[in-house]
């Protein structure tokens, strides 16, 4: 346990809890009042009494947690007061409607980053740097081997790969919520106007993005395409779980790729089996993590997700920041980022 005992937040069996405001942030189990940073499954879980989240996340949350959840939509920067605690949501640049959550009381500012990235992303609001006294940050890619190239470089590589195989289909595996729509928006930005085919799991999450007027090429579920239609030269997006499933039967002979930050390392690429790796992540890379910690000016930093130990030691020893890792080794499942 590495949160100060008398602070605004503590770690309860349900997750991060603010006893004064009587709210939990991204709770693992049902609670009366849940503040949700974003709609990924390791952050948004069903069964809670009331939910608060950014308004543009509503479509996704209702689809994932149930249409009838009691959900309060907020806008970025809007202030919510509960028992003397000022609560506000700030853009995390991670996926549509993703937020960092700031709690203020007694002159203390506690910031929970949720998942975030610092790169520009045409499918969501850009990251907002927020000052805090204590920062609880993700550290999924907390090693200096992870540093992202400009997105346009990776997307250009992907387009060249796709265009090099006009006689067969090209399937890119990418996380269904966030990564897929970001890719589509990036394709649009790179001038792609033709229709992209989607796996059903991605199709199911397209409406909120269309509603938010994110510019993307036309899309259609693969299942709606006539059986006799040729897939030569077509680009198909599918979640990683579809790899090796019966859904792939129709795509026999297609070239495959995977878009993920882990693809930065050759070993991880090879473990995925055959297929091309595209290094594209919705999380901050090492420089992005350092920059965020510095900009927050936090006196104390607590890390979750992934390579926390190494980043924590680096911040302690090299930057003189009081930093530790939030221990979850108390029987709950280790929370791996859903969309890594």
């Amino acid at each position: 346990m590495s949160l100060p005992a008398d602070g605004l937040l503590r770690l309860s069996p349900e997750g991060l809890h603010c006893p004064v405001a009587d709210v939990w942030i991204d709770p693992w189990r049902p609670v009366p009042h849940a503040l949700i940073t974003h709609g990924h499954a390791d952050h948004a879980r069903p069964g809670s009494g009331e939910y608060w989240a950014i308004g543009s996340a509503e479509g996704i949350l209702r689809r994932r947690l149930g249409a009838s959840i009691d959900l309060h939509g907020l806008s970025y920067g809007q202030i919510l007061r509960r028992n003397g605690v000022r609560i506000s949501f700030h853009s995390a640049g991670h996926v549509l409607g993703s937020a960092q959550i700031l709690l203020e009381a007694g002159g203390e500012r506690w910031l929970v980053s949720g998942d975030f990235k610092r790169q520009a992303d045409p499918s969501c609001t850009p990251f907002e740097a927020v000052r805090a006294d204590l920062l609880i940050s993700e550290a999924t890619f907390g090693l200096p081997i992870y540093h992202w190239q400009p997105t346009a470089t990776v997307v250009a590589e992907l387009i060249a790969w796709w265009r090099s195989a006009p006689q067969r289909a090209s399937v890119v595996f990418c996380y269904a919520f966030g990564k897929a729509q970001r890719l589509l928006a990036e394709l649009h930005r790179a001038g792609v106007e033709e229709e992209v085919l989607l796996h059903g799991a991605i199709q199911a999450l397209m409406d909120p993005y269309r509603a938010a007027a994110v510019p993307m090429p036309p899309t259609r579920p693969l299942s709606e395409l006539d059986r006799s239609a040729s897939l030569a030269g077509r680009l198909v997006l599918a979640p990683p779980a579809a790899q090796g499933s019966s859904w792939m039967a129709r795509l026999r002979g297609a070239q495959c790729g995977l878009a993920s930050g882990w693809m930065a390392v050759r070993g991880a690429r090879r473990r995925r089996g055959s297929g091309r790796g595209f290094v594209l992540s919705d999380h901050a890379d090492w420089p992005g993590l350092l920059q965020t910690v510095r900009q927050s000016q936090a006196r104390r930093v607590v890390l979750t997700h992934g390579q926390g130990e190494n980043l924590a030691r680096y911040l302690r020893e090299e930057e003189g920041i009081d930093c530790s890792v939030l221990s979850r080794d108390d029987g709950r499942s280790e929370s791996r980022s859903e969309e890594d």
């Binding site: 520009a120 090693l143 081997i145 540093h147 400009p150 390392v265 070993g267 390579q307 030691r313 020893e317």
Partner: protein
Amino acid sequence: MRSFCRLFEELDRGEGNLARIQALASHLQRLDPADAAWTLHLLLGKQRRRLITARRLRLLAQEITGMPEWLIEACHAQVGDTAETIALLLVGQGRSAEGANAIDSPPTSAAALSPRPSPPAAANLDPAAADWPLQRWMEEELPRLAGLDGAEQAAALAAHWQALVGGEILVLNKLLTGAFRVGVGPGLVVKALALASGLEESLLQHRLMGEFRPSAAAWQALLAAPSADAVPASRPYPFQLACPLEPERLAGWTPSAWLAEWKWDGIRAQLIHRSGELFLWSRGEELINASFPDLLAPAAGLPEGTVLDGELLVWPAAEPRPSSFGELQRRLGQRRPSTRLLAQAPATYVVYDLLEAEGVDQRPQPLLERRRRLGLLLEALGQPQLRPSSPLPLADWDDLERWRARARDSGAEGVMLKDLAAPYGSGRQRGPWWKHKLDPLRLDAVLLYARNGRGRRANLYTDYTFALWTPEDQPIPPGSGGSSGDPPMAGAAEPWAEGSAAAAIGAEPEGARTGRRLVSFASAYSGLSDAELVEIDRWIRRHTTERFGPVRAVQPELVFELAFEGVQRSSRHRSGIAVRFPRISRWRRDKPATEADTLATALALIQP
């Protein structure tokens, strides 16, 4: 160099084999002979000289990046490879934290090449070093770098790192540490060569056997028209290999058309006598003359122009069966065996085939004829260390199973079945040769320790140590003792290469039932699917009881069936036994740990 690095990236991507063969063939066609020769040499994994240690490279990277050593080690643990770790760190170095926040720039060729670190000392460097031909790098620059000392070497290397881009840094580092491998097998390389040259694969394979010293002349000789083929005396033939027998095929065959013989558990080797010289080649294409003087002396009496294919074994004269593979390993490791070792572990060459006689290639002859001549030849030689493999009589196919059932008692690992009418082929062909191996021994064991894998599995816990039950009060059985330096058996030695987990941990967990404890006995890292590995990795992270450096001790709950080829007593292992070629055959989700096997069961499997 630049184009070689691009080729490396293309081959490394793991796209389909056909695409890789085509990419390699067209690349080779574009090169001049010397660069093509070096490319081939590197792709065949023959550049194994270490010019600079991986540790020194990491220290240098530490100096240049200014990162603390522990952080570089942590990166190394995640990546699993020094060369790649450094390439990733250096490419990342140039990117300031502010840069990461900048709006993405449009793609340009330079964007992919990322900014560079500044070297500690700017050495004079040809800015076009990346464009130097591969030959220049291999023949001049790398030896020059290796020859520099201390600060000069650091400055020269730093200058290269600064001038090269990510993929090139990776390749340079790998060449320097002697760790350059590409994920393409020799078969694929030969196919590409055949495509590029129009020559037969078998001819190319033959020409590539033995030594290939990269040079323009060697490349030209490799691709010369078949008639111009002058065989160097040392060159072995490609080995013919067998496929696992499909027993349902037997019904259609006549036993008398087949030769059955033991499949010995030694080292396959070719013995060549040409131009007054002897050459003993292992299947791994290593010349192992130096390790086996006791075979070369009697072989000197073979007629000029003879090539034999057989199995190297340690087989003391008075013994009815060969010694274990461990004894042979003692011999392989010694390039100058002592008289004592020669007496303790005398070598024998059991000959399977005659590939060349009186300087004439015998491979087109049917096996029946080759074996007839081989018998006459070895009889005339009259040296017991070179003996023909004895046929196992087959009256009917039931006899084959009877022989196989006796294989373990005979010290063999199974039975070979060879078509008596077939010529000697090259490589693994289905049809003429079949191997009918023994069923492996199996034990159900409990997972006790795990550590992360290497290379592509560096961020998963995939290397496991397994344990068996033993009564609490029972002392560990003493090892076979014998010689003091009991050799480690392949794959079965200490749980971890360095700092054995079991050694670091005094006591092992107690059993659920009192009076029993678990004793670790084998490590294995292969045999599970990627999906299972990921699932077990998660389980390990949640059920860790203690951590010892990279090793995690886990709750003794999961049971796996291990398959292995043999058990020996060993004083070097805390269990008192060593198993050969252990691998995981399946995850016994159905078995609780209490029902795993005991050490006594394993001891009962030891051959008398």
